[in-house]
């Protein structure tokens, strides 16, 4: 299955992936509108910055799937290998935040629910927004 991978040699910690991700999943037609119309959209990818190493982390769609198994509402499920969240069913208990070994479940504090990377299966054709938006090809979408 094609997944998003990050090559930390090339990650510049520019954080653009977070903004492209947030905008793509905001439902707004462009980035300006996504960020300028009230609620600040939440990225599902997070950049970790170090002194000389940086990388972005997002859902690994891992084999363990502890988040799905622990979900108390059934909001999280697996579609074609992709862990997806039905946000309308999430009550914000954060059991998945507790479970995810990569820290990839993102808390939407305003919405009192979680958000997570679904590889842009709901909003994009082709490559996920973070991959398209990475200026240094640090983020790739590929089969491994």
């Amino acid at each position: 299955m094609k997944k998003v991978y990050v090559n930390e040699d090339w990650c510049l910690a520019c954080h653009l992936c977070e903004f492209y991700c947030a905008a793509a999943n905001s439902g707004a037609p462009d980035m300006v509108k996504a960020f300028k119309s009230g609620k600040k959209p939440v990225p599902r990818i997070q950049v970790e910055e170090g002194s000389d190493v940086n990388f972005a982390v997002q859902c690994r769609h891992c084999d363990g799937k502890a988040c799905v198994k622990g979900c108390i509402t059934g909001a999280l499920s697996i579609k074609d290998g992709v862990v997806v969240c039905d946000e309308s069913r999430c009550v914000g208990c954060y059991t998945c935040v507790l479970s995810c070994p990569f820290g990839c479940i993102v808390i939407d504090e305003e919405g009192h629910r979680i958000q997570k990377c679904d590889l842009c299966t709901k909003n994009h054709d082709g490559e996920p927004a973070c991959v398209q938006g990475c200026p240094n090809k640090a983020i790739v979408f590929e089969e491994r």
Binding site: L16, F35, D52
Partner: protein
Amino acid sequence: MAIEFMNPLFEVIRDSDRCIKCRVCERQCANEVHKYDADLDKMISNEMTCVDCQRCVCLCPTHALKIRPNENQFRENANWTHQTMDEVYKQAGSGGVLLSAMGNPKDLPVYWDRILLNASQVTNPPIDPLREPMETKTFLGKKNQGITYDENGKAHYDKTPYLELDVPIMFSAMSFGSISKNAHESLARAATELGTFYNTGEGGLHRDFYKYGANTICQVASGRFGVFKGYLDAGAAIEIKMGQGAKPGIGGHLPGMKINDEISRTRMIPKGTDAISPAPHHDIYSIEDLRQLVISLKEATNWEKPIIVKIAAVHNVAAIASGVARSGADIIAIDGFRGGTGAAPTRIRDNVGIPIELALAAVDSRLRDEGIRNDVSVVVGGSVRSAADVVKAIALGADAVYIATSALLAMGCHLCRSCNTGKCNWGIATQRADLVKRLNPDIAAERLVNLVTAWDHEIKEMMGGMGINSIEALRGNRLMLRGVGLTQKELDILGIQHAGE
């Protein structure tokens, strides 16, 4: 605080309707122009340090940024231009020589743009490169070998070392030190994929890149940095750098702060020491000394590698080239006055040397007049900006061209001409690890390959239009050129007719 006589060269125009305060501009500016102010909840700019490298503009996800020349101007004066005055202020403040980078930006004639190409009509057919073979393979080296046939009709001939190029375009010398390791890797990988060559410059060859040796030209310059037997053996050819178009008659100076571990190891000089290339080679004070170096290098490499001698285009370039052709060198590289540099004294860069077009025409004609054009190949550089420039250069008589500025542009350079600061935001002309990282060789090598491939396509289109299906039939084919708006003197030097003739 003393009065600052100068004002910012550029203005940062930020469209607050578009700015989403993502701060990518702030994170990506090594000059610290942008800053997020939490109290104001907005981005603010310190324009004084902006060099107009366009990194922020390119990365801004909402296209909220523009960098424009500062509209603030000193009182208009055709003689004392704003820039001239700025330079006086700068020197009055610093007491130092002005430093610049990249090529001469002055409004001096660009002869490429005054030369037009021919195309076939009626009496002979243009050739469609998509339907017929169209050949750009080029050999560089001596072409004066004899051939004899024995009684059985079998040919006997000598072969001298040569370079075989799939495209008549090579990447010219840029040292590791002046540019980053990732930039070097990108050039090396691109040259390998393209079947052409890149040039180490005078900074030696990083251990990691010996594997690209078959596509590497190893330069020997006056500082002899990183030169040892293994280095000479590593490449496909050796280039003796006598001069550089951006700064003829001037050596080089890589400040100690750029000499990090890897550069120190590669250049074979202590870490943190300045790397100073003398103006002359101190073992070459005349042409016969050059001949000795050429022969020494050939001896050192078992006469297996062609030797390139690179000279800057100066007033008597034709005579110099004639001397070089007789020195035993296999290839002469001529660098025009618009050639780039990582750092040069501004006055030198802007006032010394001559245009490559004239130098090339003069050299090619001179070598033919002397009947020694076959003794050497001629490679020209110094602002070859497009496939059209390549075609014109070859028609004027060049065997191949060197490109560097175009290659840098392909990798992201925006010609802000601040290489000398070491803070290249594009990760090219810098050794700062966090900046070097910005140049991913996977991307840069691909872009270089794309550029040269695109040019090769265009060269083939233009050749096809002229009814030529092999690059060698274009070489020195000056009938394919016509001048526009040139004086008879210029036409004579270029050896071409005026348009309409």
